[in-house]
Symmetry: C2
């Protein structure tokens, strides 16, 4: 099995598509997926502007729960993680689908629904979520690792080779052959000898306000 | 022949590598290369910060010659262009090599050297360069087209399909088979049905100052 880490934020529709892609190709290509977290709220926070990514002053893991649209989902993700890697992956996938396919809010009701759909032990999940201090410490460590790596958006994949990249696409692909082609294209870009750093389409802007 | 437009800035080493790549693959793949210009100085100018790319207030083509490290090279590029597309391409390639391989400054001596190496008519080049008003108008039109397209860096390639992307790599490849593989990888990314918008490696930052 080849370990592939995926940095995700539940707020991000591109992260959702990236996780669906990885989920389809993992069994075919023998990938062992590990979910990690990167916070768009923290990364784009005005107080962190101009600072190195590994030295933020505004840290999501230290904020009050009510103030953030994403903190509760991250803590729930770390609670789900206590039930093992496979359970964590299923939970993340179901929560992304609830948010980005069914347009549900990232509130407690949605989190519990994701636990149910993913087949996790709800009682254990609630107990782990209530141990908020431990979950905050885990999240802080995760966001710190993302900062060290220089992650700036989601999804960011880290391949077994150590190559890492942000990978953004707009058309969800779950058909196995298309998904495999797309994944192999992505890895071929990262492994090409020219050391490709960036491929990015320009965006035509709408008329200025 | 398939028309491929390349937006370039002579200041940019990635644009140099991109042009070398296109130059190697063009005859093999039947590409008709057309050089266009995008200005990093204009795009990154503080007075243009936060403004739509197609509505800059600080415009390179209106600046005094002495104030800019890139304006003279752009005007010379438009002067070379008067001698035809193939001559323009050879001039651009030689000027990039002088700047980024031989570390020469983009001054008059270097421009004349590029004219010589590219086999252009020097007298005609000088006369066209002296018609500064016409060259500035051409440059302004070029930079406006780049702004409309949303170009944000160089090199940016526009394929016959209309797909466009910034393409940054660090290892120069002029070996024909490797170059063809690299070009085909780039076009495969742009033409994939998932509509890939971005692949970009995170950059580990050095210790903060």
């Amino acid at each position: 099995m080849q370990l592939v880490k995926i940095y995700l934020d539940y707020l991000c529709p591109f992260a959702w598509r990236g996780l669906e892609l990885a989920y389809v190709v993992a069994p075919q290509l023998g990938l062992d997926l590990e979910i990690r977290h990167y916070s768009l709220e923290q990364g784009n926070h005005p107080e962190n502007a101009g600072r190195p990514r590994k030295a933020p002053v505004w840290k999501l893991a230290e904020q009050p729960l009510e103030s953030s649209p994403s903190l509760r989902a991250f803590l729930a993700s770390h609670a789900a993680r206590q039930q093992g890697k496979a359970a964590h992956l299923r939970f993340a996938l179901e929560l992304f689908r609830l948010r980005h396919q069914e347009r549900r809010r990232l509130d407690d009701e949605t989190l519990v629904e994701a636990v149910g759909r993913a087949g996790l032990d709800l009682e254990r999940f609630m107990a782990d979520l209530e141990d908020e201090e431990s979950r905050r410490l885990e999240l802080a460590a995760d966001l710190e690792a993302a900062g060290e790596l220089g992650v700036f958006g989601t999804p960011t994949f880290v391949l077994p080779s150590g190559d890492a990249a942000y990978f953004r696409f707009t058309q969800l692909t779950t058909e196995p052959e298309l998904a495999t082609n797309l994944w192999e294209l992505f890895t071929a870009v990262l492994e090409n000898g020219a050391h490709i750093e960036t491929i990015r389409r320009p965006q035509r802007e709408r008329a200025s306000r």
